[in-house]
């Protein structure tokens, strides 16, 4: 009984403490590995705003939360391209107030007005990511230029792939000469055969930390997001980063306000803060994705600029492919995924 009373007191104290806050709060839901804690702390120090920071590890996780929670639970989210399109359609986003985002023009021109949100009414790019192939040159000497090259039988149990059905199936489709968003059933059947062959070589599917597989010498070949590849390359210079000739997959993550956001002012302040060149630099050097902030470009270290995995050339981005919404063909993809696993 005594314990319960003490606990209740603690609960009141804690909830009491968090509710009195003059500058307000902002409830952010972001990818799990994008913004270092130090950036958030600095923002809190500067503005007095309390940041409640939650994370997700897939766009669909974010969607599930925004869709099922009471509107107004979150103030700022970071969905990718196709998810922006989808959330727009489902009327889950607030239009952005451009006047409130002073650093709007820091975002490079070629990353504005993209297809999924032509007028940037609901979204503003935050950073870009692409897939790359990584090869450990200490052990693998063959030339590798395309996904097709990964099928060689001597790579048995030696490859790590992303645990992401759209990316991996897309890769198979591209290797076979189809579009990465192909929905034709025959094409998918071919993709399945191709993946079953590739699976012989796959040691693991991992989206969280594929770099570890290289650092522990568990595998010599991998397809992963560029920031992971960049970190791995920094630790082991023997790794080579390859842009597959079929074209990389691109994903662009954006600032967006979910419908009914209660703390818009604070959310805008946060966006503006992140868009500052030196803040974005801190973020991008920590998690070396592709920078889309032109004001930050001038500040980037040579380490970032010389790493082929972090500083993806523009021509690669231009020839890259986005994951598109494919309607109910996602059923076929999902089934295919269950088939190869």
């Amino acid at each position: 009984m005594k314990k319960i009373v003490i606990l209740l007191v603690i609960i009141f104290l804690v909830t009491g403490c968090t509710s009195k806050n003059d500058a307000g709060v902002v409830n952010i839901l972001n990818w799990s590995s994008y913004i270092p804690d130090s950036v958030i702390l600095d923002f809190e120090k500067e503005t007095g705003i309390k940041v409640n920071y939650g994370t997700y590890s897939s766009n669909e996780e974010c969607l599930a939360k925004i869709q099922s929670a009471k509107p107004g639970t979150y103030d700022l989210i970071f969905p990718s391209d196709y998810m922006i399109e989808l959330m727009k359609k489902r009327n889950l986003l607030e239009p952005l107030d451009r006047e409130k985002i002073l650093n709007w023009n820091n975002i490079a021109d070629n990353y504005r007005r993209l297809d999924y949100d032509k007028e940037n009414k609901y979204s503003l790019p935050f950073l870009a990511a692409t897939t790359v192939i990584v090869v450990n040159r200490e052990h693998i000497k063959d030339t590798i230029t395309s996904y097709q090259d990964l099928l060689k039988p001597e790579y048995k149990n030696n490859i790590v792939l992303l645990d992401d059905q759209r990316i991996v199936i897309g890769m198979a489709l591209q290797a076979l000469g189809y579009d990465m968003n192909e929905t034709n059933k025959e094409a998918l059947k071919d993709a399945k055969e191709w993946l079953l062959k590739l699976k012989e070589n796959v040691k693991a599917f991992d989206s969280d930390s594929p770099k570890t597989f290289f650092l522990t010498n568990e595998v010599d070949i991998g397809v992963m997001w560029n920031a992971e590849a960049a970190i791995a390359k920094n630790k082991n210079p023997n790794l080579e980063v390859i842009y597959p000739k079929e074209g990389v997959a691109i994903s662009i993550d954006n600032f967006a306000l979910p419908k009914g956001a209660k703390h818009k002012e604070q959310a805008y302040l946060f966006i503006d803060y992140i868009l500052r060149p030196e803040v974005m630099q801190e973020i991008i050097e920590d998690y070396p994705y592709k920078n889309v902030n032109q004001a930050t470009n001038l500040l980037l270290s040579s380490n970032y600029l010389n790493n082929p995995a972090s500083n993806i050339p523009d021509y690669v981005i231009k020839n890259g492919h986005f994951v598109n919404n494919i309607g109910d063909s996602i059923l076929d993809y999902d089934k295919l995924w269950a088939e190869i696993k």
């Binding site: 314990k3 804690v14 409830n27 799990s32 939650g54 939360k65 099922s68 929670a69 930390s209 770099k211």
Partner: protein, 262 residues
């Protein structure tokens, strides 16, 4: 003698199995390299990093509040419900008994999303309270199962004897039933506490933006590859739990000894 030796060897092997991964984890929390790969140099650095991390401490507080509250509430409700199920017939008993399987059977993610939808239906704001309710939801069946196991092995004439002697239901419960089902209650409470401390998926959907818990925090930290500060954190939790559990065991043992002396 040889048999005893074999017995102890078996216990030793089981404990090796239980503790090896944890020992590895603690060792790597003192590793100077930021990757859990090879041990480079001994350092306390990660513990410093950890203690300066305000949001982690906040998450730790939340975790403790949720774990203790949900364990206490679910143990109380679970225990009395187990007795109710055992002793009484009531309308819909069969059905309710089957329902109790659901939180164990249903995949966590489904329970998480459906609870979230129910909260939204009732226009509840997500907070520590909704999180606690969720944890109570999945803990109660485990408590009921543990208590039922013991209740069923009790001789039924024990309580009859007590009521024959004129004790009312409450007295019988307090002086006869409760002490004899205590092992079941403790193991149920322990299960509930463990489940609460460990839960990621259900918490993910039912926690409010300001009620981050340690497992949620760890889950997102792991996404970037597990780093020694996560190890350091687990090592600290481990030390704290060992202290708490050991004191409670020692206290219990002392009480036990006193009773046997009497």
């Amino acid at each position: 003698m040889k048999k005893k030796y074999l017995h102890n060897l078996f216990l030793l092997l089981v404990f090796a199995f239980l503790y090896l991964p944890i020992i590895v984890l603690v060792i790597f929390s003192f590793n100077s390299s930021s990757l859990n790969i090879v041990f480079e140099q001994f350092t306390f650095r990660w513990y410093h990093v950890l203690l300066e991390n305000r949001s982690l401490l906040e998450a730790f507080m939340n975790t403790m509040i949720v774990a203790f509250t949900s364990t206490i509430v679910s143990t109380i409700i679970g225990t009395i419900s187990a007795i109710g199920i055992k002793k009484y017939n009531f309308i819909g008993k069969e059905f309710i008994q089957s329902l109790l399987y659901i939180p164990i059977v249903i995949p966590e993610i489904v329970l998480g999303i459906s609870l979230l939808s129910i909260y939204t239906l009732f226009r509840l704001d997500l907070s520590l309270v909704t999180l606690i309710i969720a944890h109570i939801t999945f803990s109660i069946p485990f408590v009921i199962i543990s208590v039922r196991t013991i209740l069923d092995s009790l001789p039924s004439n024990l309580e009859d004897a007590s009521s024959d002697l004129g004790a009312n239901k409450f007295k019988t419960f307090w002086y006869v039933t409760l002490p004899s089902i205590m092992p079941g209650i403790t193991s149920g409470a322990l299960l509930a506490f463990t489940l609460s401390l460990d839960d990621v998926i259900i918490s993910y959907f039912t926690a409010g933006p300001d009620s981050n818990t340690l497992p949620l925090k760890i889950y997102s930290m792991i996404k970037t590859g597990i780093t020694p500060d996560v190890n350091a954190l687990s090592a600290l939790i481990l030390v704290v739990t060992i202290i708490i559990l050991m004191t409670s065991t020692v206290l219990q043992l002392r009480k036990l000894r006193k009773e046997t002396e009497l």
